[in-house]
């Protein structure tokens, strides 16, 4: 049952060193504030799961939070490489990083399988791709009706799932609008769940009969963190800071510049 608390308390309560953690949000609603709090609390040895590592995992990897990354597209969208991710993969800095690499379709199916209590996801995928040769978690089964080969990947069931959303009501139900990505699936697939929200409202806007709403009983902690998705965006609240995504290329290219940025913008900030 969801409990309102500070972001600092929520991360302290829910995330432990060594956990598998999924901070999701498909371009939209990326929980940056929560990621920064994980960095501040010095959590390490995490298995980080995310379809698109984006700047948030580039920062967490550069700060040494991760021992493993499960992902399907590791770039700075529209800009180029994630330099901290590449530095970790190619040169082991600040720590070696094991990777488990999938396609988007596989990860989307695997989150859905996790939400659905399945041990694995089955789909028409990975046909002819070398990804199946380098990832032992990609297997194939035979359809018992047609004989067709179908891809299988293990369901994703993170120890902790973290998402950002627009609104919580006072009961602790959460409303997500716009590009909803895999927000619902990661919440339902995870053992422990934190949602950061822009605001708490008396009631959700009308006409939400079939909206994406997560009941309070699927969530452990809610932290009110306005702007918690910046520099990504929150539909209806603020826009994506595209200029920062472009600027990140230069900031992250060099280890020292990166460190200074983190010192100033993450360690130097009071937790929400």
């Amino acid at each position: 049952m969801s409990e309102f608390c500070s972001l600092n308390d929520a991360i302290r309560r829910l995330v432990r060193p060594g956990d598998s953690v999924a901070l999701e949000g498909f371009t939209h609603l990326i929980p940056f504030a929560a990621g920064h709090e994980i960095i501040r609390q010095g959590l390490t040895d995490l298995t980080l799961i995310r379809m698109t590592p984006d700047l948030i995992y580039d920062q967490m990897i550069g700060c040494g939070c991760a021992k493993k990354l499960v992902f399907s597209w590791g770039g700075n969208p529209g800009v180029g490489s994630l330099h901290r991710l590449r530095d970790a993969v190619e040169r082991g800095w600040p720590a070696p990083l094991e990777i488990e690499e999938h396609s988007h379709s596989a990860m989307a199916h695997a989150y859905a399988a996790g939400a659905a209590g399945m041990p694995a996801a089955f789909f028409r995928g990975y046909r002819g791709s070398d990804l199946a040769k380098v990832n032992p978690n990609i297997r194939f089964i035979e359809c018992p009706f047609t004989g067709e080969q179908l891809a299988a990947v293990p369901a994703i069931r993170p120890d902790v799932g973290i998402v950002h959303a627009q609104k919580a009501d006072r009961t602790g139900n959460v409303l997500v609008e716009g590009i909803v990505g895999v927000q619902k699936e990661v919440v339902l697939a995870s053992k422990r769940v934190l949602v950061t929200v822009e605001e708490v409202v008396e009631r959700f806007p009308p006409g939400a009969t079939n909206a994406v709403i997560l009941p309070a009983w699927t969530i452990d902690a809610i932290a009110v963190v306005p702007g918690g998705a910046r520099p990504s965006y929150a539909h209806g609240y603020y826009q994506r800071d595209n200029a920062f995504y472009v600027a990140w290329d230069a900031i992250s290219r060099d280890r020292d510049t990166f460190r200074r940025w983190i010192d100033e913008h993450v360690y130097g900030r009071t937790p929400a």
Binding site: T27, S72, G74, G78, R240, N242, Y245
Partner: protein, 259 residues
């Protein structure tokens, strides 16, 4: 009229689209081509981005696949699992645009690594949606700048299936869709030989020589019996594309056009 080779490539890709198409759009040049088609000769085209936006009509090109404007201008936005399950895997998409760091003569693509997977020379972003876009869309159009480093004899890694390592693997693998039917580069247009599925040059952009194309291809490229000259961009096409890029540059607060 003056135009860049990038503009020629974008216009040539846009022309391959019709108002009947449902396109799975990637970021960058495909996004420019699809939106150019929508703003010119194919107003009925339906653009789908993997973030879940169906029938989006952005006024500026998105910087990322999940920009807010894609959702705000869409008919509806579905979840990412639904996008991959019902819309892509359900074979609802007529055309998927793909690019990559490397392509081979059978339209197989690499967007994962250059060099060895375990100790890469260059680590690329990876598949993203590409692996299943390559098999789930009815047809694939590939758009890439041509050079011996990108049009290669042998891929470092096969991320997304084209016609397979020998051009004949799609059916064997139980894939029902057509695969790559078109490659558009900054130099020319290629289509697969109907017998072998090897891509051959079918149209050369104005001012480009066969020698340039041969030099820019890492395999011994072949030319179709009848090779056309690609009509240059029209004034309307160029104006629409430049307006789109100018609006985009302004909106994103970047110096130059993205894509």
């Amino acid at each position: 009229m003056d135009y860049t080779s990038n503009e020629m490539m974008t216009v040539a890709a846009a022309r391959a689209l019709t108002s009947d198409d449902v396109c799975f759009v990637g970021i960058g040049l495909p996004s420019a081509a699809c939106n150019l088609a929508r703003l010119t000769h194919a107003p009925g085209i339906r653009l789908v981005y993997e973030s879940g936006t169906l029938e989006t009509k952005p006024d500026v090109l998105p910087l990322s696949i999940g920009d807010g404007e894609l959702c705000e201008t869409a008919l509806v936005t579905v979840s990412v699992p639904e996008m991959f399950q019902y819309w892509l895997q359900g074979e609802r998409i007529t055309v998927g645009f793909l690019g990559g760091a490397q392509v081979d003569r059978y339209g197989n693509l690499n967007s994962t690594v250059i060099g060895d997977y375990r100790s890469p020379k260059v680590r690329l972003p990876g598949s993203g949606g590409a692996t299943e876009i390559a098999t789930g869309c009815r047809r694939i159009y590939i758009v890439m700048k041509q050079s011996p480093r990108t049009f290669v004899e042998r891929l470092s890694f096969l991320t997304s299936l084209g016609h397979g390592p020998t051009g004949r693997e799609r059916r064997e693998l139980g894939v029902r869709t057509q695969g790559p039917t078109l490659i558009v580069t900054d130099l020319c247009i290629m289509k697969p030989d109907p017998e072998t599925n090897e891509f051959r040059v079918t149209s050369i952009h104005p001012g480009v020589t066969r020698g340039q194309i041969i030099e820019a291809t890492g395999w011994p490229i072949r030319f179709a019996d009848d090779v056309d000259e690609t009509p240059p961009p029209t004034a309307e096409e160029l104006a629409a594309l430049r307006d789109l890029n100018a609006r985009t540059a302004k909106a994103h607060g970047t110096d130059g056009a993205v894509g």
